[in-house]
Subunit: 208 residues, 4 copies
DNA sequence: GATGAATGAGTGTTCATTCAT
DNA sequence: CATGAATGAACACTCATTCAT
C-alpha cells in the first residue's frame, strides 16, 4: 500500500485524486495483468476505498482507457530539440534515445497496457491510431525525405519503419523486465548498436 | 461451435481429443485473452462438455502450458536446408523467411500466448528459456562467425540479435492481425525489406 | 427464508450479521449435514446474498469452525450454583440437568456439528480438546474425590466418566430429534432415571 | 488400492463382487464421510472401474443402504450361548461384551454410517427400526423380567435401556478412533467397569 | 466527497452417473 | 460383464459495481 493514512487520503483536487488512482491501477495492472487485477487491490494500493474509484472512473475498463490516453499524450510530445535533419546519425540517435527514455520512464504503463492491447480490439485500435500510426508516419516522412536527399537508399518506408519501431519497442515489453535494466551506461550502448544496425546494417561497408 | 453432432463427439483417441481441445483453447485464448476466456466457451468451441476438458487437462492454466509447449516444439525445428553460411543474404533471408512462415502458421497460438507471457512470470521464463534464448544464441553465433570471417562489422551480437528478433516478431503480434495479411506476395516484400535493413542499413552504400 | 425484506437486510453491526449468518448455517447444517448444505441455501436462510457470507467468513468450513467455537464457549460456563459436593445425588442431578439443558438449548448446533466431528480430524480434535476432555476431567475429579470420601466405590474414573457422558450425550444426537422432546416433564423423568442408574445401578440395594 | 491386478478383478460371483465393492465403500466412507467420498476412490479401492459399481448398485446412496443392512444383519445375530438369565452379572457382561465385540469388528462400518444416520432421515429411520429398537426392546424385556424377579429395582426400562445403549455405543463413535484401541486387555477392563456401573452404580453398597 | 457493506452474476472445477465399446 | 470416456448439473467462491450512510 503506497499511500496509507488512517482515514484515507482526503481533500485532494480532482486531478490529483485521479492521478493517484491511475498510478495505483498502472502498478497493479503491470504486475498481474488487467483481468487478474482486482479493484480491491487497486483501492488498497491507492489508499482509497473501492467506492472512491467509482466516483472518478466509470469502470475498471475505464481505468485502462484513461491509462492509455496518458501514455498516448506523454508518448508523443518532445519532438523539439532535435538535431538538424542532415546529421542522420545524430538525428536517428536522438529519436531512438527518446524512445528508450520513454520506455524507461513508462515501463510500468507499457507493461500494464500491452497485454490488453494485444487482445482488446478497441484498445488496440486506439493504440494503433494514437501511438503507432503517428510514430510510423513521422518516421516514414523522415526516411522519405532523406531518401530524396540521396542519403538513404530506396526502401519501403512503411515496412522499414515498422521493423525499426518493433525492434526498439521489443526492448520495452519483451527483453527487459525492469526500468533499472536500462541504466545510463547500458542504454547508451543499446542506442549505439541499434542505431548502427538501422543505419549501416550488419555488413562491412566497403570504404568509409 | 466448430464440431457439432447430436450427442457430443465420442470415442476419439486420446491424442485426437487433446488436440481438439487445445485447438479450441488456442482459438478462444487468441480472441479474448487467457483470463477473459471461459472454460465454458472453450468446451463449446471444441464441441465437448466442460467436464471432458478436465479429463485431459488439470486446469485452465494447464491448457496454456500445453499450448506453449506445442509452440516451443514447432518453433525450433527446421534448421536444415539452409543455404551455405557464406552467402549471408541468402542465409539471413532463409532465417527471416522461416520466422515469418512460423508467424503465419501459428499466429493464433502466438496471439493467445503473448499477452500472458508478458504478465505471467512462470510462462515468461519458459518462453524466454525455450524460445527466445535458443533463437538468440543461434543468431548470435552466426553473427560472430561472419564477423570473424570479416563479412560483418564488429557489433554486440546479443543486442543486435535482440533488435532483429524483436523487429521480426513485432509483425506477429503488433503490426498484423491476421495470417492472411501475410500472403505470399506481401511476405516476400516484407522479408526483402527487413533483410535489406539488417544487412545494409538505411544509408546508401558508397560503391558496391 | 427466515429474514425477508425487499432488498436484503442492510447495515447491521458486524456482530449481528455474523450471528445471523451463523444461525442460518447452524440450521441448514443440522438439517442436511455439512457437505450436503449449500452456501446458496445458507444465504437464503439468513436472508443475505452468498457474497455477504464471504465478507464475514473465509469459507464454508470456517462457518463450521465458528459454530464449534460458539458451542465450546457456551458449553462450559456455569459451574457455579452447584449443590454441596457432599450431597452426591443433588450434585450429580445438577450436573446431568445442566447437560440436558445444554442439549435442549443447542440441539441444532449439536446435530449440525456431530456428524462432521465424527469424520473431520481437525474438528474432532478440537471437540475432544475443548469439550470432551474438560468435561471428563471435571467429572473424573469429582468421582475421585467422592471415592476418597468413601462415598463412591473404587472404579476407573476415566472409563466410568466416559460411559456417563456417552449415555447423556446420546440423548442429544441419537435418541431425540427435537428439543421439544425434552419438555419439562419428560426431562425431569429422564434426569431422575439416569442419575438413579449412575448412582445406584440396576440391582436392588440390600438395606438402605 | 487394496485389490490391484492388471486388468481389474474378473469373474467373481455376484455376491463376491458386491462384497468387494461394499468393503471398499465402507473403508472410504469411514475415512472421509459419505459426501466427501468419491465413487472414483471407491472404485480404486475395490480395484474395479467406476462403471462396474453401477452394475451392482443403483447409486452411491444405495451403497450406504446396503452397508446399513449388512450392519443390521450382523448386528443382531448371536443371542444364543447366553448365560442363564438369573446370573445377572454374567448375563449383562455377556451382552455388553457382545456389543463391544461388534463395535471392534465393525468399527469401520459404524464410523462410515453414523454421521449419515445423524443427518439422513430415511437412514435414521432404518437404523432406529432395524438396530436400535430391537436392541432396546430386547434389553427392556430383560430388565422388566429381572425387575419382576425382584433382582432389579423399579426403573423406567426404556430410559435406562437408552442410557445403557448410548453409553456403550459412545465408545464406538465418540471415544475410540481405532478398533485397535479395543484390544483384549483394555476391552475386558472396559466391560467390567461399565457393567459395574450399570448394575451397582457409583455409590458404595451397604453390605454385600 | 468518501466510504465499505452488500450484492449476484459468473467462474473454474468436481463428480455421480450413463452408455458405446 | 467390465470398462472408462463423456457428460452436465451443481458447487464454493470471486469481484466489479452499487448505494445508503
Amino acid at each position: 500500500m503506497s499511500n496509507q493514512n488512517g482515514k484515507g487520503a482526503k481533500r485532494l483536487t480532482k486531478a490529483e485524486r485521479e492521478a493517484q488512482i491511475l498510478d495505483a491501477a498502472t502498478k497493479v495492472f503491470a504486475s498481474k495483468g488487467f483481468r487478474a487485477a482486482t479493484t480491491r487491490e487497486i483501492a488498497a494500493e491507492a489508499g482509497v476505498s473501492e467506492g472512491t474509484i467509482y466516483n472518478y472512473f466509470d469502470s475498471k475498463y475505464d481505468l485502462l482507457i484513461a491509462m492509455s490516453q496518458r501514455l498516448a499524450l506523454e508518448s508523443l510530445q518532445q519532438l523539439d530539440d532535435l538535431p538538424p535533419e542532415e546529421d542522420v546519425r545524430a538525428y536517428i540517435t536522438a529519436l531512438v534515445t527518446d524512445r528508450f527514455d520513454m520506455l524507461a520512464k513508462h515501463m510500468d504503463l507499457i507493461r500494464a497496457l500491452m497485454p490488453e492491447v494485444l487482445v482488446d480490439d478497441d484498445l488496440r485500435q486506439a493504440y494503433v491510431e494514437q501511438v503507432l500510426t503517428p510514430a510510423l508516419s513521422y518516421l516514414g516522412q523522415y526516411i522519405e525525405s532523406r531518401t530524396k536527399a540521396g542519403v538513404f537508399r530506396e526502401m519501403k518506408a512503411d515496412i522499414v519503419g515498422r521493423a525499426m519501431i518493433g525492434a526498439v519497442m521489443s526492448f520495452g515489453y519483451l527483453w527487459l523486465r525492469e526500468p533499472s535494466e536500462l541504466d545510463q551506461r547500458s542504454q547508451e550502448e543499446l542506442v549505439t548498436e541499434v542505431v548502427g544496425l538501422f543505419l549501416d546494417g550488419l555488413r562491412v561497408r566497403p570504404t568509409e
